[in-house]
């Protein structure tokens, strides 16, 4: 199969996915955020093609979709890594040395917060508060939470990530 055909296939699949999700939410404009969340749950990010399709499906201006997609922090308009590492920077974590945890993780992964490794293995993010304040400082790897992991524990966990 040629590269173009493969890409075309991907495009088709993406369009269908978006349409399916829109139908599930009855194409209700007011559920835009919920629809975007679900698209991202499926695709791990929000590709431009999906948003253009969404604009046609819901019959709302593209502008309105981008305003929402860039306002809320959860949405990613760029491709993200297969494994999402979050370091909590909530106040409780902050006073329990979250900044040290960030430098530890940054050093181990070789990427800064907000960045994705070039092999698409990891994306590193800092988050406002994960709500596990008693366990701080908290690191979450693919939504599994770890309380104050040591460098060697982190190394082990990162190695387990595909």
């Amino acid at each position: 199969m040629s590269r173009e055909v493969a890409m075309l296939g991907e495009q088709m699949a993406l369009q269908e996915k978006v349409e399916e999700i829109c139908a599930k939410y009855n194409r209700k404009e007011s559920l835009l955020i919920q629809i975007l969340l679900e698209i991202q749950d499926e695709l791990n990010w929000l590709p431009k093609e999906a948003l253009l399709r969404l604009s046609a499906q819901l019959q709302i201006p593209l502008k309105r979709i981008y305003e929402v997609a860039t306002f809320y922090k959860v949405f990613s308009l760029i491709l993200r890594g297969r494994n999402l590492v979050k370091v909590c920077t909530g106040t409780a974590c902050h006073v329990r040395k979250a900044p040290v945890m960030i430098s530890r993780v940054t050093q181990l992964l070789g990427i800064n917060p907000g960045e994705t490794s070039s092999d698409l293995r990891f994306t590193l993010e800092t988050v406002g508060c994960l709500g596990c304040c008693a366990l701080g400082p908290v690191v979450a790897i693919n939504d599994e939470y770890y309380s104050n992991p040591t460098t060697s524990k982190l190394e082990k966990l990162f190695n387990e990530c595909q």
């Binding site: 969340l37 306002f71 106040t91 709500g131 596990c132 304040c133 008693a134 770890y146």
Partner: protein, 641 residues
Amino acid sequence: MAKKIRSPEELLQFRKKVVAFKEAVKTRIIVSGGTCCLAKGSKRIFELFREELDRQNIAAGVELKSSGCHSFCENEVIVLILPEEICYMRVRAEDVKEIVSRTIIKKEIMERLLYKDPLTGEQFIKEGEIPFYKHQSQIVFGNNRFIDPKNIEDYIASGGYEALVKALQTMTPEEVITEVKKANIRGRGGGGFPAGSKWETTRNAPNNPKYVVVNCDEGDPGAYMDRALMEGNPHSVLEGLIISGYAIGAQEGFIYIRQEYPLATENTLHAINQAREYGFLGENILGSTFNFDVEVHRGAGAFVTGESSALMSAIEGRVGQPRPKYIRTAVSGIWGKPSNLNNVETLANVPLVINKGADWYSSIGTENSKGTKIFSLVGNVNNTGLVEVPMGTTIREIVYDIGGGIPGGRQFKAVQIGGPSGGCIPSQFLDMPIDYDEFTKVGAMMGSGGMIVMDEDTCMVDVARYFLDFLSDESCGKCVPCREGIRQLHKILMKIVRGDGEEGDIALLEDLSEVISAASLCALGQTAANPVLTAIKYFREEFLAHINEKRCPTKVCQGLVSYFIQPDRCQGCTACLKNCPSGAIDGGKGLIHVIIQEKCVKCGICFEVCPDRYRAVEKLSGGPVPPVPADREITRRRVER
């Protein structure tokens, strides 16, 4: 499919049946299963209990269940064994077998799993005897530990939906409002606005339909009471919401849950489905003429949507930008219709008020702040977790009697209350009672209930900078005073923590803060300066040390700290050399290591990896770094401790 309950009598009978069934069980094992507990492996522990009970063939006489958060989060996983009330803490997977064979079968106590007071060493068997719990009164949160959030029967057995029956059967909507007003429940989300008055305004607003909303967008960093309630006892919030719908005349409700709380969303959705099956949601609830249903909206990561008008925009599927509230959301909210929004904890209080009456409720608390308040007691404190105390309890009681004081014998410095909208309360106010108005007097605010304890090693300038950092990202960016004001407050604070502070900076911060507070569009901006203003008010000398002496007294601000290796302590182990990310360490086996200051990025990793037995890396602030020793050879092989 469960049988729909169509009348109060049917509910009563059903409850009797459930209670009788539960009473037949001799032993009950409850494994905590909140988000924190799951992080500590509680799911695996639960499964192991199931396997072990089956293996030992005693599953029939034992009820095993997974509950929500037990509030003493520091010591998860907590296993509660009833009826003996044995409370095991920090339970790990390897303990399960022994618990079953020793405690469940032989009724022996396993001492190593009991809570041990870190100060006195005293051990406690029963949960209620532990100081952390003893000094609390968990009237709202208490049920969390007995209820499986995925099982509506648990909630019904504990008297759940009784308040709804009472309201529907014996009270008019106006009477419900009167009762809530009389109880004087004030908004637990922070503002402290009386819930009853808000309900009344919404009810009396001319437009229809009306909406009721639960605000579970708990964005304050350091606060997680609402998460614990929502995921641990969703029906209590749901019952409060249904009652508010009845009182206000709404048929549709929304629950807006932070995206960061997946378990709360899962359990809430589950609870709503069950409530529909049992007939607590839907048409003709419990045989009355009242119809009501609920929709869950997931948030998408924005602190500002905790503000009521911004949250309502989010429910409409828009950018969570607050709108001017000169016409209140109670009059014109979602799609311009009257909308009542309450915080999770506020609504969880409602069934209590209806069941036990306003007189009982208002007997708890202070003159103007009634009932209890749940705080998340976190930070530099021995016992971290969720704490529910009557209003009027002092901060000292919370930090010392319940929280067990500051770890490592360090000194208390301040508590941060109210998150980015609140402020730091210093030690001279330790005896201040928990009260909406008292907090406002000292420049903080109740907020949603984050109480972050800070010890002497916390830099208050850094804390102020931290909150402005947070706010510059979380402001919606619409109005100039908030967006540009926060940008500049942040710049000035960054300048100070970098060591470039100048005279006049404090005055500029204060000046700017005044305008931000007065002219911003919404509460986020109006309160954004509080963390800065309280820090300056109570810790001015720390600001002055940073600005005038270029010194961070607590050695937290990286820009004012230098790392230095004490030549007479360094044993040349090369740990720092190997771990330094910027190649700023010169050394080798047998050599005293030296930090090349020009290359140092001040990440603190050398400080962290230097073995405890040497502790050779030191932080310096405010003075010159001592010169490199001429003789780098390590002669002594041992250092005296």
